[in-house]
Amino acid sequence: MRSLFDAYPDGRVFDRVALIVDSTVNFDTFGYYGLSLWAISEPWTLDRVLEQKARKARRVALFTVGELRSQGLGIVLSGKAPHVDTTLGAAGRQAPGPMQVTGASAEELVDRFLLATYTLVENHLFEPGPG
């Protein structure tokens, strides 16, 4: 699941450039291009994630692992549950040794991510307003 920024002027759900920036920040911090997702499973049910990790997001996008994998993307554990990253292949923070990264990795990751089918869900636990 990924919380959505729903302020893009033309109604787009994702902004390619913003996603490239996000994945590059991940690279700068952890050494690989990744996009953050929340994994839904016990004990992190959808409602718990919506309330505790996405309460400031009006909408979220739900992806299946199978759909992401069908686009050539992997899921790696990162941070604390329920946080995970989706990456190209099997890169991840736990991967030992130097990583092979190409200049096009961020763009390729994002373009594959944007091809994945998702389900839009209204966050019924959305908390409008500041903070």
Partner: protein, 79 residues
């Protein structure tokens, strides 16, 4: 439109469950312990800054009440 101090993807967390983002240039408000607004216009939160390195700022989300208690807010426009 909200004034965002730290352009951030609030989905991103590190091993300590902190959010992080690229360090904005030239904003004197961005210092450890300070309260700021992070995110993007459709998905943002008050945050408190935990750590700053050369290029990345780490922070955690706080409530509006906690932000107000800090007492040094430059209140942004309405969301």
């Amino acid at each position: 439109m909200i004034q965002i101090d730290i352009e951030a993807d609030l989905n991103m967390e590190d091993d300590d469950e902190r959010n992080f983002a690229r360090l904005p240039a030239g904003n004197p408000r961005i210092k450890v312990g300070a309260v700021a607004v992070a995110g993007r216009p459709g998905f943002w939160s008050w945050v408190q800054i935990d750590e700053i390195d050369d290029t990345i700022v780490f922070f955690h989300q706080i409530t509006a009440r906690q932000a107000a208690a800090h007492g040094e807010l430059a209140v942004p426009a309405t969301a």
